[in-house]
């Protein structure tokens, strides 16, 4: 529809041939190996087409040949920015299929650590998004805070990025000794840092002119495409899996959902910033209420969910990440299907970009916050 409008306005001008620009897979700001074929009129995008699959590993197929406990590390590498969140979907799906009762301490630790991971993921989003729009310094500042979270992860899980965080039935081990103190220190320092980013960006005229009114998507379109996460809430749809179907310990937590109004890049920017504040709030509460006790449920020798299928989803940093699991009663799943939020969010790209300039394509890819590891699987 957009395309036709632009074509008619251009006819009155000089005859300018279209140019096809191949953006990626090796491009600094397609956030991985995404290839976008742009059709340009001057610098205006007439049409675009995404080409994915450069990072395809066949993860869903591999899962059919692995034991339930062995599949978990593959999930960590879907959205490698948020390994902790992704791992949680898998173990919770299996636990719920088997009807395992996970101890409350494990639930609370899961809540704290996934929220820390959400902050880490949003910080990386802020860093790269700002870098795409040209504010280089925010990159370093955001990574500085992310480093604090990664240090906690390193001490807890033994890895910074590809943490294999959870086990079916609970956690591999209890929180390390200074865990509460470390997290509390981060929680106390974080709001100041967030305000720092806001002073550089939120009121900045250039930032405003690059984000306000760019990549607008209405609430209806957002629902129709199936957007989830901050991209959906930026358009003003109050949908958050943590609220709608509380998992882990979210039912006990008190937090708000930030909603945008315009559905533009700036709204999504504010929504993500506010989500970081809310995450901090959740962590603060969970730390206060953190119960004592074991962190593991009693498991059978071999994990074998009963015959049947099950769908479970959680609110990942990028959106609703879900797992559809079909079990035939053996030690290996019959079929595993991921609901990848980045893949579904990426479908909005064309609608958001057409009619904008090349520079906005980069900003819009940034605002969608995609991860190619999850899109290609």
């Amino acid at each position: 529809m957009h395309q036709v409008e632009i074509a008619t306005t251009q006819e009155t001008l000089l005859d300018t041939p279209e140019m096809v620009l191949n953006m990626g897979p090796q491009h600094p700001s397609t956030h991985g190996v995404l290839r976008i074929v742009l059709r340009l009129d001057g610098e205006t995008v007439i049409d675009l087409d995404c080409d994915i699959g450069y990072l395809h590993r066949g993860m869903e197929k591999i899962a059919e040949n692995r034991m339930y406990t062995q599949i978990a590390p593959y999930w960590d590498r879907l959205d490698y920015i948020a390994a902790v969140s992704n791992g949680l979907v898998w173990v919770e799906t299996v636990e719920q299929m088997m009807g395992l009762a996970v101890p409350p301490r494990a639930h609370y630790l899961r809540t704290i650590l996934t929220e820390l991971n959400r902050i880490a993921s949003h910080l990386l989003w802020l860093a790269t998004h700002a870098l795409d729009i040209g504010a280089v310094t925010v990159l370093l500042w955001a990574l500085r805070e992310r480093e604090e979270i990664l240090k906690i992860f390193e001490r807890q899980f033994g890895a910074r990025l590809t943490c294999h965080a959870w086990r079916v039935g609970g956690m591999p081990n209890d929180a390390y000794d200074d865990f509460s103190a470390d997290v509390q220190r981060f929680v106390n320092n974080f709001p100041k840092r967030l305000d720092e980013y806001e002073t550089v960006l939120s009121e900045n005229r250039i930032w405003l002119s690059r984000t306000v009114g760019i990549g607008i998507i209405s609430a209806e379109d957002a629902i129709a495409i199936g957007l989830s996460g901050p991209a959906l809430r930026g358009s003003g749809v109050p949908w958050d899996v943590r609220k709608a179907r509380p998992y882990a310990a979210y039912a006990d937590m008190d937090f708000d959902i930030p909603l945008g109004e315009n559905g533009d890049t700036y709204d999504r920017y504010l929504v993500r910033l506010e989500e970081m504040r809310q995450s901090r709030r959740i962590i603060d509460q969970a730390l206060d209420k953190l119960p004592d006790g074991p962190v593991n449920a009693k498991l059978p020798k071999i994990v074998k969910p009963p015959v049947g299928d099950y769908y479970h989803s959680i609110e990942g940093p990028k959106g609703e990440i879900g797992c559809y699991l079909v079990s035939d009663g053996t030690a290996q799943p019959w079929r595993v299907r991921v609901r990848p939020p980045s893949f579904i969010n990426l479908q909005a790209l064309r609608q958001m970009c057409v009619g904008h300039l090349v520079a906005d394509v980069v900003a819009i890819i940034g605002t969608l916050d995609i991860v190619l590891g999850e899109i290609d699987r």
């Binding site: 310094t137 109050p238 609220k243 709608a244 998992y247 959902i257 109004e261």
Partner: protein, 437 residues
């Protein structure tokens, strides 16, 4: 003739050496040997300045970004620029298969030449510290530096790459637009100096012992903004916008040729900083220096201190460039054009009109007996009352320019950005049935 000879005369001890050991006659010394020495010195020093500008930029960006910057090569990484230069020199000289070989080959040299030729007229200091003082100096600076755009277009076109082409087209549009604003911004200061010779502009500021930035706040700001855009620096670094166009016009360049572009960019930055210093910040002048050195007979010391003053002033402007680059996001192409044509050029025109009015009313006041002008021949030599009048009018000009600009741009989208943006609202959605029992 004697006068002209004096202009080109070398430092005494250099002259003595040349006469004693090479037995050259004064004409050869004055017109051939000494200029060559000067050129060699300036090229070396500017190249060094450029190299260490990259070092400084890295250090300053590191300071802004809470990290250390280069620390490994030499103490505090001081030898980093040399290591970088060596690395680039020894890299493979790669020319893409489908590129237009000769144009691809020559474009970097045009860029560097255009940036370095300008230094021939920049007055680094009084007396022997300037290579030549042509009476169209400022015009020459503008003309030569605008040749730089040619190099960018040729580089982008000959690379036979779409990213390079887009970068080249952007840069040509950008540099052409901002050249206009830059030239117009300078006119206000020229009304006070009444000459295009850069040395005379500096002298005009020295004689009045007041820098033109005080009379011309609007002109100075406009020149700085136009200068950043002219040099393709952030936030106007669209031709090489890394996140969109990979590296813009020099995407396909590597090794030594790339380093030439890099050098040209920094040299052009030094040029703009030097011109801003010369025209607005009083060039090599600094209060009390003359009285403490030249007046007591230490002529060469005076020149050295003056050169140092000039370099420090220009470096402060360079620092502002670095500071902006590492703080601000990048404009979009159409917004850049908006700023050029709807903000910068109207502002420069308003500034010209207002400055003309100011100068004219100062003269009128003088005629009516208020005694504002000391001496009208040559540059405008003002009395204390005249200076006060000019400063006040300059500040009023700032307000008027702002008012007129906001009226012009009242209906543009970007003017009301803050009202267009929406704040987010926080809602507490009722919780659903837990997924986990």
């Amino acid at each position: 003739m004697q006068n002209v000879m004096a202009l080109f005369a070398p430092i005494d001890f250099v002259n003595d050496l040349l006469v004693r050991f090479l037995n050259l006659n004064p004409d050869t010394i004055n017109f051939v040997v000494w200029p060559l020495i000067q050129i060699g010195l300036v090229v070396t020093l500017v190249a060094l300045w450029v190299a260490y500008a990259t070092y400084l930029e890295r250090k300053i960006s590191a300071f802004i970004q809470a990290r250390l910057g280069p620390m490994r090569v030499g103490p505090w990484g001081l030898l980093q620029p040399i290591a970088d230069g060596l690395k680039l020199l020894t890299k493979e000289d790669f020319i893409p298969d489908k590129a237009d070989r000769w144009i691809f080959f020559f474009a970097p040299y045009i860029a560097v030449a255009a940036a370095f030729i300008v230094f021939s007229v920049i007055p680094f200091g009084p007396d022997w510290a300037v290579i030549t003082d042509v009476n169209i100096g400022l015009l020459l600076v503008l003309a030569v530096s605008s040749v730089g755009v040619l190099a960018l277009i040729l580089a982008g076109w000959s690379s036979n790459s779409k990213y390079s082409l887009l970068g080249a087209l952007r840069s040509s549009a950008q540099m052409v637009s901002y050249e206009v604003g830059m030239g117009l911004a300078l006119i206000g200061a020229l009304m006070f100096a009444r000459t295009l010779s850069l040395s005379s502009i500096v002298n005009a500021q020295g004689a009045d012992s007041i820098w033109f930035v005080v009379y011309q706040p609007v002109g100075f700001l406009l020149f700085l903004v136009a200068g950043i855009a002219e040099n393709n620096r952030a936030p106007f670094d669209l031709p090489e916008a890394e996140s969109e166009l990979v590296a813009g016009f020099h995407t396909e360049y590597s090794g030594f040729r790339w380093s030439l572009f890099f050098m040209a960019e920094y040299a052009a930055m030094v040029v703009v900083a030097s011109v801003a210093t010369t025209v607005y910040l009083g060039g090599w002048y600094f209060p009390f220096v003359y009285g403490l050195t030249e007046a007591k007979g230490y002529h060469n010391l005076y020149v050295f201190i003056s050169v140092a003053t000039f370099l420090i002033k220009a470096s402060i402007i360079l620092y502002i460039y670095f500071w902006l680059r590492w703080t601000l996001p990048r404009f979009r192409y159409d917004q850049l054009m908006d700023i050029g044509w709807k903000w910068l050029i109207p502002a420069a025109l308003i500034n010209i009109a207002w400055t003309a009015l100011t100068v004219f009313s100062a003269q009128a006041l003088d005629v009516w007996g208020k005694h504002t002008i000391e001496r009208a021949g040559g540059h405008l030599n003002l009395t204390a009352a005249g200076k006060g009048f000019m400063i006040v009018m300059g500040l009023i000009g700032l307000v008027i320019t702002g008012a007129v600009l906001s009226r012009i741009n009242w209906r543009s989208r970007d003017f009301h950005l803050k009202t267009q943006r929406r704040n987010i609202r926080l809602v507490d959605v009722p919780k659903g049935k837990p997924a986990v029992s």
